[in-house]
């Protein structure tokens, strides 16, 4: 195989294998009764998959920090959206 093809193929194929393995774990673990821990595992694995795509496929590893800045900013505001909204719902009284 052309050397250039191998250079392009291998790191990305590796990431794909990681994604598939994670998919297997998350799909499989969903059938094991672990209570609310199931949800934690599933979203943790989703986060890992997302990070894999972002870092390997979307070049977040690039030396200049510009892209990471954009990604982290979006993520921080996403978190505050969740946190402050759930802060309302999780602290309501019995009739809320």
């Amino acid at each position: 195989m052309d050397k250039r093809v191998k250079e392009v193929l291998l790191p990305n194929l590796g990431a794909w294998v990681v994604l598939m393995v994670l998919l297997g774990i998350t799909a499989g673990s969903a059938f094991i009764p672990l209570g609310s821990f199931n949800t934690v595992i599933n979203f943790a694995i989703a986060a890992l998959k997302g990070l894999t795509v972002a870092i390997v496929f979307m070049s977040l590893k690039r030396p200049d920090p510009l892209l990471r800045l954009a990604a982290i900013t979006a993520f921080v505001f996403l978190l505050t959206f969740f946190a402050l909204t759930l802060a309302d719902y999780l602290t309501r009284g019995p009739t809320g």
Binding site: D2, R4, V5, E7, V8, L9, N12, L13, A15, W16, L19, M20, L23, T26, A27, A30, F31, I32, P33, L34, N38, T39, N42, F43, I45, A46, K49, G50, V53, A54, V56, F57, M58, S59, L66, L67, A70, A71, T73, A74, F75, F77, L78, F81, F82, T85, L86, Y89, L90
Partner: protein
């Protein structure tokens, strides 16, 4: 492509106000990232609603989620993640000068994308048959479980729209690349489209546990 032709074609991709193609490509990627940040926040409204309803109606949401089709969902996740692989191979391959390889990978991405949409079509047909179409024939109990299915139809519908837009963008790249009208190695459009496709995949990566992995163990 001869060496003499390549700089000419490269210049066609260069636009005002940019003076260097490399800088324009960086700008296209950065601009697309900024847009992706907005796309992330676009879907966030749905995810927040999902989180809220799971917090206040846990049982009803789980009851609703049990009717989601695990097989179709998992298959589609595998398809979409593989399409992300083929997309990045097209993008990196084009950068490395592997034009034929890149074109094949673009074609593969389109096929996988279409496959996703087809599987989704089958899944939707089954959901409608199972009386899960909100606003039409929904009749699951408990009644608050409808909130899960509201989330399902809006989020997967919207996601499918984004998949379709992505397929159209990639098809445009493929057609113009085949006609050599677009220099795949240097055009800013390829990197930007690839980023968009990866976001579409990432959204699905988070939709998957929300929809298909809930209430499976009990």
């Amino acid at each position: 492509m001869s060496d003499a032709a390549r700089p000419l074609l490269a210049m066609e991709a260069l636009r005002e106000p940019w003076e260097e193609l490399e800088r324009q490509r960086e700008a296209a990627s950065f601009g697309m990232w900024v847009f992706l940040a907005s796309e992330l926040l676009f879907f966030s409204g749905l995810f927040v609603s999902y989180a809220v309803y799971r917090a206040i109606f846990p049982e009803a949401m789980i009851a609703g989620a049990r009717h989601a089709d695990f097989f179709y969902g998992t298959l589609n996740t595998a398809i979409l993640m593989t399409s992300s692989l083929t997309m990045v191979l097209a993008s990196r391959g084009a950068e490395a000068g592997l034009r034929r390889f890149a074109l094949w990978c673009l074609a593969a991405t389109i096929l996988l994308g279409l496959g996703f949409v087809v599987v989704k079509g089958f899944e939707y047909a089954k959901d409608i048959e199972d009386h899960l179409l909100v606003g039409y024939n929904y009749d699951l109990k408990p009644p608050e479980s409808v909130l899960f299915w509201c989330f399902y139809w809006v989020s997967t519908g919207l996601h499918a729209v984004h998949v379709s837009i992505g397929i159209a963008l990639i098809a445009q790249l493929l057609i113009q690349g085949l006609r050599s009208a677009l220099p795949l190695q240097t055009t800013p459009q390829l990197g930007a489209t690839a980023l968009y496709w990866h976001l579409v995949d990432t959204i699905w990566i988070f939709l998957y546990p929300c929809i298909y992995l809930v209430g499976r163990a009990s």
